[in-house]
C-alpha cells in the first residue's frame, strides 16, 4: 500500500537530517514494583502537534509529567533541544503545562492567572501587561480579564488555562486531556481553535488524550501507548489506514478482524484461508507472510459495501443476514451475520435525505470489498 504524505507537507520525522526537539532515550519509569514506562525511545520535532493516545493507566500521563519535570525517569535520559533535562526542576524548564483540571488559581483574576508565570520570569514589569493583553485576545477573553475563575464558564476556563500556559512562550506546551471537561460540541469547536493557536504561535504541542477522535483531529503524529510501551507512532491517516497491530486497529475506530492462514499468491497479494467452505479473502500486505502463517485480516466497516445482489466487480464477496441496524444519521451501520456465525460490520453513508430503506432485519445481503481495502496483521 503506497502512502502519499505529500512532499510539501509538514513531516520532519521523515527527514533524517532534522534534529528532534525532544528525545526520550531508553526511558524507564518505575513506581515501586509497577513499571509505568518501559524502555521507551521517542523523538518529537519542533512545531509538531504530537498526541499521546492510550487507555487510562497506560503511562501517557507519566510521560508528560516527566517532560514537565514532576517525575524523574528511573533510567534513561530525556533531551530537550539537545540538553539533558533530567536535573532541571520544573520551574526552570522552558516547558509549560496545561493541566487536566486547568489548575487555575481561584484567588487570582483571569489576567493575574495569565500574568502569574510572566511575573516569575525576567520579563520587565512594563511588558507584562501587554503580553497578558495579547494572550487574552488570542483566546478571545479580553472582556473577562478581571473575572475570577469561578465566574466564567468551563470553556472559558479552558481558554484561560491555555493562555496562561502559553504566556511564557514555552518551547514546548504539554496539554493533559485539555478538552476532557467540555461537552462534545464545545470540544469539537475547541479542537480547531487549539490547532489554530498552535499554528499561530508555532509552539510544539504534546497532548495527552484517551479520545481517539480528538487525537485524529488535532495531531500531526499520534503515539499509541499501551502498558508503558509505544505500540505505533505515525500520522493519523497511517494509524487509521495502516495500523501495525490488532490493538491499534481496534483502539482507533471500528474494525472487523478475520483470523486465517496466509497463502502468498504474488508479490504482496495473499489469499487468506479463513473458513473451510468459503472462498479465501484476497488481500494485499506490505508486510511479508510465509505460507500458512496465522494472520488477521482487518477491515474498516466503511470499506465494506452492502448490496442486495452479488456484485460482480469486487474481488471479495460474502453473503449474510442483517442482524442489527444502527442508524446514526449520517451513516448506518449494519451488523451482518455470515453463515459461519461471524458478524461483520458494514457501513453505508445516508446520502439522500429520504431514501427507501434498502435493507431490514433478516434480509439476505451481500458484503463486498476490494483486495486493497483491508490490512493483514500478524498480531
Amino acid at each position: 500500500m503506497a502512502f502519499d504524505s505529500g512532499s510539501a507537507a509538514f513531516a520532519p520525522w521523515e527527514d533524517p537530517g532534522q534534529k528532534p526537539l525532544i528525545s526520550f532515550k531508553s526511558v524507564t519509569k518505575r513506581f515501586g514494583n509497577f513499571t509505568a514506562i518501559d524502555n521507551l525511545t521517542l523523538d518529537i520535532f519542533e512545531k509538531e502537534f504530537f498526541a499521546l493516545l492510550g487507555p487510562s493507566g497506560c503511562g501517557k500521563t507519566t510521560l508528560m509529567r516527566m517532560l514537565a519535570g514532576f517525575e524523574a525517569p528511573s533510567e534513561g535520559t530525556i533531551m530537550l533541544d539537545g540538553q539533558d533535562i533530567g536535573p532541571i526542576p520544573p520551574n526552570k524548564r522552558a516547558v509549560n503545562m496545561m493541566f487536566q483540571s486547568y489548575a487555575l488559581f481561584p484567588h487570582l483574576s483571569v489576567a493575574d492567572n495569565i500574568a502569574f508565570g510572566l511575573k516569575r520570569s525576567d520579563m520587565p514589569k512594563s511588558e507584562i501587561a501587554g503580553r497578558v493583553e495579547e494572550m487574552l485576545s488570542l483566546v478571545q477573553l479580553s472582556q473577562f480579564a478581571s473575572r475570577r475563575p469561578h465566574q466564567i464558564s468551563g470553556g472559558q476556563r479552558q481558554r484561560v488555562a491555555l493562555a496562561r500556559s502559553l504566556a511564557k512562550a514555552p518551547k514546548l506546551l504539554l496539554l493533559d486531556e485539555p478538552l476532557g471537561a467540555l461537552d462534545k460540541k464545545l470540544r469539537q469547536e475547541t479542537q480547531f481553535e487549539l490547532m489554530d493557536i498552535q499554528e499561530k504561535t508555532g509552539t510544539t504541542f504534546v497532548i495527552v488524550t484517551h479520545d481517539q477522535e480528538e487525537a485524529m483531529t488535532v495531531a500531526s503524529r499520534i503515539a499509541v501507548v499501551n502498558h508503558g510501551k509505544l505500540v505505533q507512532v505515525a500520522p493519523p491517516d497511517r494509524i487509521y489506514e495502516a495500523p501495525n497491530s490488532i490493538y491499534v486497529a481496534d483502539f482507533i475506530g471500528d474494525v472487523n478482524i478475520i483470523k486465517g492462514l496466509a497463502k502468498p499468491e504474488s508479490d504482496n497479494r495473499y489469499a487468506i484461508q479463513w473458513c473451510e467452505n468459503h472462498a479465501p479473502i484476497i488481500g494485499t500486505s506490505q508486510h511479508a507472510f510465509a505460507s500458512d502463517d496465522i494472520c488477521h485480516f482487518a477491515i474498516r466497516p466503511e470499506k465494506v459495501s452492502i448490496t442486495r445482489d452479488r456484485p460482480t466487480d469486487r474481488t471479495n464477496t460474502m453473503q449474510g443476514k442483517v442482524l442489527e441496524i444502527a442508524y446514526l444519521g449520517n451513516i448506518s451501520t449494519y451488523h451482518v451475520e455470515l453463515p459461519t456465525g461471524q458478524v461483520i460490520k458494514a457501513q453505508q453513508a445516508n446520502n439522500r435525505r429520504i431514501s427507501r430503506r434498502s435493507f431490514t432485519w433478516h434480509d439476505s445481503v451481500w458484503l463486498s470489498f476490494t483486495d486493497t481495502a483491508g490490512v493483514l496483521l500478524s498480531q
Binding site: F99, Q100, S101, A103, F105
Partner: protein, 298 residues
C-alpha cells in the same frame, strides 16, 4: 402537620428565648441598676410593678452610673486592654505553632491522616481544666521545665514562669491549639495539589508556590482558626486564674472577682455588657468569613 411544624419551631425557640435572650435582658437591666446592700444586691428590682407609673419610676431609676464608673476606674480599661493584648498575641502564637502542624498533617500520606486527625482532636475531648492544670507542675519554680533547663545548663537559677503572663500565653496556645489546627487543616487538605504543580510549572520555586498559592488559599481556614482562638481567649477565666499571677489582668477574671468576691452585681453586669460589645465586631467578622466559606463551597 402545620401544628407539628409549629411545635417543632416553638420548643427550641422558646427554650432559647427563656434561657439565652431573657437572661441578657436581665444582665443589661442590672448593669443599669445601682448597688445596694440587700438581697438581691441591687436596686431597683422589678417586684411590685403593677402599673405604668411604677414602671416609669423603675425606668427612671436606671442609669449609666456603672458604665461611667468603669471608664473612671483605671483597673477596668486596663483589664480590657490587657485582655485584648493577651488574646491577640496568643492568637498569633497559636497560628505560628498550629499552621506548621496543620500543614504537615495535610501533606502526610493519606493513610496517616485519620490517625493524625484523631491525635489532634483527642486533647479537645480531654478536660480543659486538666490540660491547663498539667502546665502548673511544668512551669513552677521547681517544675520539670526548670529542672530540665538547669540540668542542660541553659540557666543558673530557676526561671519564674508560673504566675506570670508568659504562663498565660503558654496555657492559651496549648489549650486552643486544636481550634487553630482543625480549620487550617481542613482548608489545606482541600487544596488541590495540581495548583502547586501549576505554580512550579510557571516558574515558582517551592517556597514561592507556598506563599503565592498555599497561604492565600488557606486564608479562610486561618481566619476561622484565629477567631476561634481570639474570641474565647478574650473572655478567658480559667487560664489566667490557674496559671497567671496576681498582676495578670484579664477581664474574665475581673468579672468573676467583681461578682463572687465583691458581690457587686451591677458592676459585674456592666463589665459583661462591655465585653459583649467588644466581641460583637470579631463575632460578626467571623460569621461573615464562615458565610463566605459556605458560599464558596456551593
Amino acid at each position: 402537620m402545620d401544628l407539628r411544624k409549629l411545635f417543632l419551631i416553638l420548643v427550641p425557640y422558646s427554650w432559647l428565648l427563656a434561657l439565652f435572650l431573657i437572661p441578657f435582658a436581665i444582665v443589661l437591666k442590672i448593669a443599669l441598676s445601682d448597688y445596694a446592700i440587700a438581697i438581691p444586691p441591687y436596686v431597683p428590682t422589678l417586684d411590685g410593678i403593677g402599673n405604668w407609673s411604677d414602671f416609669k419610676t423603675f425606668l427612671s431609676e436606671l442609669d449609666f452610673e456603672n458604665f461611667i464608673f468603669l471608664t473612671e476606674d483605671e483597673l477596668y480599661w486596663r483589664a480590657y486592654l490587657s485582655s485584648a493584648k493577651i488574646a491577640f498575641l496568643s492568637t498569633l502564637m497559636t497560628l505560628l505553632v498550629g499552621f506548621p502542624l496543620a500543614y504537615a498533617m495535610a501533606r502526610a500520606a493519606s493513610e496517616w491522616r485519620p490517625t493524625l486527625m484523631m491525635l489532634a482532636i483527642l486533647p479537645f475531648w480531654t478536660s480543659f481544666l486538666i490540660r491547663v492544670y498539667a502546665w502548673k507542675s511544668i512551669l513552677s519554680q521547681e517544675g520539670y521545665l526548670n529542672q530540665v533547663l538547669l540540668w542542660v545548663g541553659v540557666i543558673d537559677s530557676p526561671l519564674m514562669i508560673l504566675n506570670t503572663n508568659t504562663a498565660v500565653y503558654i496555657g492559651i496556645v496549648y489549650t486552643y491549639l486544636p481550634f487553630m489546627v482543625l480549620p487550617v487543616y481542613a482548608a489545606l487538605e482541600k487544596l488541590d495539589d495540581t495548583l502547586l504543580e501549576a505554580a512550579e510549572d510557571l516558574g515558582c520555586s517551592r517556597f514561592q508556590a507556598f506563599w503565592l498559592v498555599t497561604v492565600p488559599l488557606s486564608k479562610p481556614g486561618i481566619i476561622a482558626g484565629c477567631f476561634l482562638v481570639f474570641i474565647p481567649a478574650l473572655g478567658e477565666f480559667v487560664i489566667p486564674s490557674v496559671l497567671g499571677g496576681s498582676d495578670t489582668l484579664m477581664i474574665g477574671k475581673v468579672l468573676w472577682e467583681e461578682f463572687f468576691s465583691n458581690r457587686d452585681w451591677p458592676v459585674a453586669s456592666a463589665v459583661a455588657v462591655i465585653l459583649l460589645l467588644l466581641l460583637i465586631l470579631p463575632i460578626v467578622l467571623f460569621q461573615r468569613n464562615e458565610q463566605k466559606q459556605r458560599e464558596a463551597e456551593k
